[in-house]
Each structure stands twice: as structure tokens, then as C-alpha cells.
């Protein structure tokens, strides 16, 4: 039509407008360029385009340069930038994750991350394990753990075990400990066993939106298939997915992290904690329990209920906690991170636990026991530090 000049939106414009689809996304317009996000980012010093510079590039119209740069893969989706932003811009959920999605669509994905994503698509877990082996960790547990496909009655609690808690040999020990605690409390629970799929949250934060949606659909079909009242999970990423992300796909179920579930039953749990555990412990707040979902008190209340146990805080604690390095795909980018940083965030955290005089670094996320145990081997004066999940301390206090 005469008088109109056709204008095809540039990539820069399309990307910018896509950020508005995220809740509170329009706040990006209020960015002050104060640089707090880039300063607090644990790997910001290594990124060619840390968050504030990404926004600056977006405003200047050259964001296409940002997505040809691979240093964004150093982002571990730890929410430190989001938490500290004075303009309350949803940086992790919006800018960082959307950028990873664009990198992934362009095929600019580090090889080790590709493997984890392809494994998830194929086997339903990033470890590349056979789904048929997903419930093998339950062998020998008494009373036997009910697998929902094998029982014909509803359960009160669906325990969503998660990938690492099902397959990783170290994390399986924490699953067994939690099973013991749930059994001791007389909880009527069951698991999905071989049918369970990855919750997909870390894959989503690594930019694989399509895979996340596929996994959510598969898990949703399973949730519909069985009768239960609520979901309990030991995985903060699964908790985050079911609480905040699945509802966006109209998949809504009541969910709690096991620390919340147990803390709400502390009156029943406390008399079972008979044995003294004479340890000084430092609790590490997982990013997706703490900063992303504001759960700081329940894990601590469980630890404080254990007789003989002394809880100390590390330099970085609660909303200022350090990331273990495993979030946002970091779990599957060890080589990439090491190549770029020659440093591991998990070692930094272990040094803080040693400085706090802790006998044990205590965690509540399945990514963390193996990550911190590896870090202990690398940090001087850390050889006496043990790494334990809260469930393992509860189990120890219960005794046989």
C-alpha cells in the first residue's frame, strides 16, 4: 500500500520482544546498566557478554553478535543475577535462558551438552542409562518400595525420584536414606520406576525448550494414569519444574521438596531421631531450592532437630549462596567449564566449608553430593570434610 514502508523485524527486535513473554519481562527496559548482575555472576568475569553487556548489545541492536559467542554456556542458571538485580529483571528465566535457546536452535551447542540432551530424548535421562534400570536402586529395601505400575491402589505420595537419585551410584545412597525415613514415618508412597522421565528443568535452562515440553507431556500422562494426593521430590530442579514450569503447560499438581515435606512433619519425625550425630555441619543452599524458590528454613529446621548436630553458616549463605556449578546444563558442561575457567565452583564452596570449620558439607540436591565429593579431592585441607545429604543425616540419627 502506498505510503507504507514494509519492515521485516530484525533478529535483534524479535529476540527483544520475545523477552516480554516472560513474566515481568518488560522490566528489562528498566535496566540501569549498573553491572551488579555481571559482577555477582560466578563466571561473569569469563563471559565476553555477561548479562549487563548482553542487555547493552540488545539495546544497541547487535545481539546477533552475542549469539555467535559461546561464553553464554558458562551460565549455570544460579539466579544470582536475578536475585541481585535492583530493577528486578527476570534475567535467568528470560535473557539467559532465551539466549541459550537461540544458541541451541542455531546448533551452537558444546558436544558434551549435546550428549546429555540426546540421551534425555532417547532414554528419558541425561546419563544415557537404560530406563528399565531406573528402579534398580530400590533392591533390598524393606518394606519394598511400591512401583505404581505394579500396584493397583492409590497412594498418598508420589515420590518423583529423579535422574541422578535413580542412576548415580553415590546419589542412590541418598535415595535409600530417604526411603528409610519415609518408611519410618509410615508414609504411604510409591514411585514411577521405569516409567519415570527426567523432569526436564535443567534441559530447559540449557535452552532445550522443545525437549522440556516433550518430557512434561510424558510425565503428565503418567501423573494422570495414577492416583495420588501430592508429589514429593528430592530434586530441587524437579520441584521447580512441577511448581513453576509445568503449570504453564496446564500440568498442575501439589508438590513439595522432601525437606519441606519432612519439616511439616517434624513433630512426628523428631522422636525418631534418637542417636546423637556429633558433627559440625555447613548447609549448602541449592540454587533451585533457595534463590529460585525461597526455601531456606525447612532444611535448616531438619538439621537443627538432629541431636548433637551443630549447624554453622558459610560465608555465602541463603540468598547469597554459591552455586555448585551444576545448574542450567552445567552438570553436563564440566569439560567446557574447565577449559574456559580452569576453576570449579564446587571447589570454591568446599573451601568455604573448610573455612567454616565444618566436619560435613550438607546438601539437599542430587547434583551436589558427587560434585562436592569430587571437589573435596582437589581442595587442600579438605580431606576430612564429608559430603552428606540431609536425608543421610536423618537416617543416621534414626539408627537401625
Amino acid at each position: 500500500m502506498a505510503g507504507f514502508i514494509s519492515h521485516k523485524p530484525s533478529f535483534n527486535e524479535t529476540f527483544y520482544s520475545s523477552l516480554m513473554d516472560v513474566l515481568d519481562g518488560e522490566r528489562i527496559q528498566a535496566c540501569l546498566q549498573c553491572g551488579t548482575c555481571s559482577g555477582i555472576c560466578p563466571f561473569g568475569y569469563l563471559m565476553d557478554y555477561p548479562p549487563s553487556r548482553m542487555i547493552s548489545a540488545l539495546r544497541a541492536g547487535y545481539f546477533d553478535k552475542v549469539i555467535t559467542n559461546e561464553s553464554i554456556w558458562m551460565c549455570v542458571s544460579c539466579y544470582a543475577c536475578t536475585e541481585s538485580c535492583p530493577a528486578r529483571i527476570p534475567l535467568t528465566l528470560g535473557l539467559m535462558t532465551r539466549t541459550k535457546e537461540e544458541l541451541l536452535l542455531a546448533g551452537n551447542v558444546p558436544m558434551e551438552l549435546q550428549d546429555a540432551l540426546q540421551n534425555t530424548a532417547r532414554y528419558g535421562n541425561p546419563l544415557g542409562e537404560s530406563p528399565r534400570k531406573r528402579a534398580l536402586w530400590t533392591r533390598g529395601i524393606e518394606p519394598p518400595i511400591r512401583i505404581l505400575s505394579q500396584v493397583n491402589h492409590p497412594v498418598d505420595v508420589l515420590w518423583f525420584v529423579g535422574d541422578y537419585a535413580s542412576f548415580h551410584p553415590r546419589v542412590q545412597l541418598t535415595s535409600r536414606a530417604l526411603a528409610k525415613v519415609l518408611n519410618a514415618l509410615g508414609v504411604d508412597f510409591g514411585i514411577l520406576g521405569h516409567e519415570e522421565n527426567s523432569d526436564g528443568d535443567s534441559q530447559r535452562l540449557a535452552g532445550e525448550r522443545g525437549l522440556f515440553e516433550l518430557l512434561a507431556e510424558k510425565n503428565s500422562r503418567l501423573f494422570q494414569k495414577y492416583q495420588f494426593n501430592e508429589i514429593v521430590t528430592g530434586d530441587p530442579h524437579a520441584y521447580n519444574a512441577f511448581k513453576n514450569e509445568y503449570p504453564k503447560l496446564d500440568i498442575t499438581y501439589p508438590v513439595s521438596h522432601y525437606t519441606q515435606y519432612l519439616a511439616s512433619r517434624l513433630q512426628i519425625l523428631k522422636p525418631l531421631l534418637k542417636n546423637k550425630v556429633s558433627m559440625r555441619v555447613a548447609y549448602h543452599d541449592p540454587c533451585f531450592l533457595g534463590r529460585a524458590n525461597g526455601i531456606y528454613d525447612e532444611p535448616r529446621s531438619l538439621l537443627e532437630a538432629i541431636p548433637g548436630l551443630e549447624l554453622v553458616e558459610m560465608t555465602h549463605s541463603k540468598d547469597n549462596s554459591l552455586c555448585c556449578g551444576g545448574g542450567g546444563g552445567g552438570m553436563w558442561l564440566e569439560g567446557f567449564q574447565w577449559e574456559h575457567a580452569r576453576a570449579r565452583l564446587s571447589e570454591w564452596r568446599v573451601r568455604e566449608a573448610v573455612a567454616a570449620g565444618a566436619d560435613a558439607l550438607v546438601v539437599a540436591c542430587p547434583y551436589e553430593t558427587p560434585r562436592f565429593e569430587d571437589a573435596v579431592k582437589m581442595v587442600q585441607r579438605a580431606s576430612r570434610l564429608t559430603v552428606l545429604d540431609i536425608s543421610e543425616l536423618l537416617s543416621e540419627s534414626m539408627g537401625e
Binding site: 536452535l105 544415557g128 537404560s130 528399565r132 525448550r209
Partner: protein, 254 residues
């Protein structure tokens, strides 16, 4: 240039393999199959050639319950034609029979170049590439890891044991067995695969009759058995370390 990439599915070794009741075949009833790794490289090489020289690439596969997702993934990566040989072929089909199913499809497609994985872990009767070349009357070069197209011919890099690489000129049409694509197979976002599932077309091609083929007949399959020659050293780390040091000394290692 028209390129055809015949691919096949192989048992996924993530699962524990079992032998069927007859004792002469793997139990395929619940087996998970996956794209042969070197066929994945052949698909990637086809895409790289298309990007470099233009043309059309077709992927050809046998019908199987797992095959549609493999074909849609190829489409999402940029493959132009998806051809599925229909019917109900046995999942343990050998390469001589597979060749008989692929050759009529390839004769219909009339490709300038056929590229396929140089081998697969279930090639009991030899790799498929030379059999296709025989069936089509084309030249064959295997263990190829680089292709440059010229007028009516290709120059290929062929790997020999010991790290030797030869450059060979091959007149087209030809069949090439791919050892490795020039880049690792590309990652494709799952959203693009899902899009391809909605939009890409799989062409069904009726299966030709298979003539009985000569070759090895499997009389019996065995699970690997534990050997008795290994000595398992047990005990605490200190005891195991002492025993190892003693053994190394006895063997003259230090």
C-alpha cells in the same frame, strides 16, 4: 547432485542383550534399536555436501517402529527426501537381504552418489556398502572421511590402518562407506524435530521380494561367559595395594 544415504538401525547396547528361545538370534521382541553411528555420520556428510555443492539428499531406511523419529530428525537437519521401504522386514535382517531391498529403491532414485556408514556392529555378513555397489554396478571406496566433488567424479580421503590417508579419485556414480563425517553429526533442537513430525513427508516404497542368500548360518548364539583366568584381589585398599605391588615385582614391572 543427487545423494542417497541408506541407513539402518542396530541394537542399542545400552540395553542388556538377550538371546531368543531358538538360541540363534538376539531377542528382538523388546529390543530398543538406534541409528547405526556411522550411518549418522553418513547423513551428516550428505548434509555437508549439499551445503557445499547444492543438490538433493535422500535418506532411505527400512520400516521399523523406531524409524519415523530417525527420519524426521534427518528432515529437521535438512535432508530433502525421506524414503521408507515398507512391509514388515525382520529386525535381524542381514546385509545381503537388506541390499536386495535397497537396490531397487536406489535404481529408482538414480543418485550420483550413495554414501552409507562403512560398518555397523551387527554386520555378521560384511558391510552393506560393497554389497550395494555390487548390486548397482557402481564403484566402491570404504573408510572415507572427506569428500570433494568435481565434475563427474569425487576425490575422497580414505583412511588406512596406522594413520595413513590416501586421496583417491572416484568416477560417479559411486558408493562410499563413511568412516567419519568432516564434522561430528550436528545437534538439532527437539522443537525442530517436532516441527518436522508435523510437516515432513515420508515416502513409502514397497519392499521387493528377497531371494534366499548364501552365507553363514548361525547355529547357536552364546552369552559371554566369565573366564577363570583373572585373579580377583579382595580386601581393604591397603591389602589390595600390597598385593598389587607384590604382583608387579613378581612380573618384573618394577
Amino acid at each position: 547432485m543427487k545423494i542417497a544415504v541408506p541407513i539402518k538401525l542396530v541394537p542399542d547396547l545400552v540395553e542388556e542383550l538377550s538371546i531368543d528361545a531358538g538360541g540363534t538370534s538376539l531377542d528382538y521382541a523388546w529390543m530398543r534399536l538406534k541409528l547405526n553411528e556411522l550411518d549418522d555420520h553418513a547423513v551428516e556428510e550428505g548434509l555437508l555436501l549439499k551445503e557445499r555443492y547444492g543438490g538433493e539428499v535422500a535418506v532411505i531406511a527400512l520400516n521399523d517402529e523406531c524409524i519415523d523419529e530417525v527420519l524426521f530428525t534427518a528432515s529437521a537437519k535438512g535432508i530433502d527426501r525421506l524414503v521408507k521401504v515398507s512391509g514388515d522386514p525382520p529386525r535381524d535382517i542381514n546385509n545381503h537381504s537388506l541390499m536386495q531391498l535397497f537396490v531397487p529403491v536406489l535404481q529408482e532414485l538414480q543418485p550420483d552418489l550413495v554414501i552409507t556408514g562403512v560398518q555397523a556392529h551387527n554386520d555378521l555378513d560384511g558391510p552393506i556398502g560393497p554389497l550395494l555397489a555390487e548390486g548397482l554396478g557402481y564403484s566402491y571406496v570404504g573408510y572415507v572421511s572427506g569428500i570433494a566433488v568435481e565434475d563427474g567424479s569425487v576425490t575422497v580421503k580414505k583412511e588406512f590402518p596406522g594413520g595413513l590417508i590416501a586421496e583417491m579419485c572416484v568416477k560417479l556414480p559411486a558408493v562410499l562407506g563413511i568412516q567419519a563425517a568432516e564434522h561430528p553429526p550436528r545437534y538439532i533442537a527437539y522443537s525442530k524435530i517436532r516441527q518436522a513430525m508435523k510437516t515432513a513427508l515420508i515416502e513409502d516404497c514397497p519392499a521387493a521380494a528377497i531371494q534366499p542368500t548364501p552365507g553363514a548360518v548361525i547355529e547357536r548364539m552364546f552369552q559371554p561367559t566369565a573366564g577363570a583366568t583373572a585373579e580377583m584381589i579382595e580386601g581393604s585398599p591397603e591389602i589390595v595395594a600390597d598385593q598389587l605391588v607384590k604382583l608387579f615385582k613378581e612380573l618384573g614391572i618394577f
